[in-house]
Structures are given as C-alpha cells and as structure tokens.
C-alpha cells in the first residue's frame, strides 16, 4: 500500500495526469489472489489475472497471464462494452466473434439456428 503511493506519486503520475484514477489495492500474502486462483505460491506473487464483474457481482469473464506478458487493455474494454450491450438488451442480443461497438449483433432465436452464415461473415472476425 505504501509502495502503491510511491509508484503512483513518482512514476504513474508522469504517465497519467493526476495519477491513477482508480483504487490500488494491496493483497499482502496473496489471501485474495488465492481465492481467485491467481496467486503463485512458489514465486510468492500474483499473476496477471483480470476479472470482469457485472453490477450484480457476477463474474462475466476472466483472463490470467504469467508475469512476463502484459495485457491488451483494448480487448478488455471491448469485452466490457460487449457485456454491457448484452445486459442492456436483456439477453435479446449477442455479440459474435470480432464484434466491436457499432458492428452488427445477432438476435438469438429459433430462426437464427443454421442461419448465422447469412448474417455473419468469416472476415468479420479479423478486423
């Protein structure tokens, strides 16, 4: 926690105006990380776990990487936007592979079964 302050005040505030805008937590001993399955007991550190939790406290997605590889923040934000869209549509819409805000969604239902190919093209997964 004290080191969070040092890191924020002396380095992060040079990257982001005003410093980190969200709370930085401390998990000394990895007690929370163990429950979330992201604490490496042998190394004594947390791995790079990332959890998307919805307003009902339900985990909608997670990703866990070993320490040397950093995360893709854009992909995380894309997933949050997709889960928010699905939630606002009360489950009437789904976001197919490659979805980004503004791209078409699918309306799951009996008439869609076997007909996804008419609405969604393979190249839509890649841009």
């Amino acid at each position: 926690m004290f080191v969070h302050k040092m890191w924020n005040d002396h380095e992060l505030s040079k990257m982001v105006d005003g410093g980190v805008p969200f709370v930085m937590l401390s998990d000394a001993g990895g007690r929370v990380g163990k429950v979330y399955g992201v604490y490496d007991e042998d190394a004594g550190v947390e791995t790079r776990g990332r959890f998307i939790i919805d307003p009902d406290g339900i985990i909608q997605g997670y990703e866990v990487l070993t320490p040397p590889v950093g995360r893709n923040v854009n992909e995380t934000l894309r997933q949050v936007q997709a889960f928010q869209l699905v939630r606002e549509s009360k489950g009437t819409e789904a976001t197919p592979s490659g979805w980004r805000p503004g791209k078409m969604t699918l309306k799951p239902g009996p008439e869609l079964v076997g007909n996804v190919w008419k609405e969604w093209k393979t190249e839509m997964a890649f841009d």
Partner: protein
C-alpha cells in the same frame, strides 16, 4: 463508501469475506492444494476486503460496496512493473 484508514507502522491486510481461517495442520496441506478455485464465469465473485490507496488517501475497500457498478479487478505481480 470506503472507510479511510488510520495508517501506522503496521501493514494492514485484507482477505476474503465470510470465510473461516484455513487450518494450518501439516496433514491438510496436500489436500488443500487440490481444492479447485472458486472462480467460474456466470457465478458470484468472492467478496473480499483489502487496504488501498486512491487520491492521496489510504482507504479500506470491500468488493461488495461496488454492487451496481461494473468492476474490473486486475492482479499484477508487483508495483513498478507493467500491467
């Protein structure tokens, strides 16, 4: 929402909420490692408390205080590393 901490020299810690302290008997250690993670998509995120730092203040945070909001919970190996 989050209570501010009176910081002394002791290092405050948090932990899971509503969970009993694990038994420390050596025979149970092997057993414990086989326990599956409680994490599953579509299931409730385990509640916890943890001390934190935000806007120049040391505060105590409880995950369940954020009900009604989207939460991105990120773990990382240590300060002064990338994310």
């Amino acid at each position: 929402m989050a209570e501010e901490l009176k910081v002394g020299c002791a290092r405050p810690t948090g932990g899971p909420v509503g969970e009993t302290a694990p038994e420390q008997t050596p025979e149970r250690d092997n057993e414990k490692k086989e326990v599956m993670s409680m994490i599953q998509v579509g299931k409730k995120a385990p509640d916890f408390t943890a001390p934190g730092y935000q806007n120049g203040k040391f505060i105590n945070v409880k995950l369940s205080e954020y009900l009604g909001k989207w939460v991105l919970l990120c773990f990382y190996p240590g300060d002064f590393t990338f994310v």
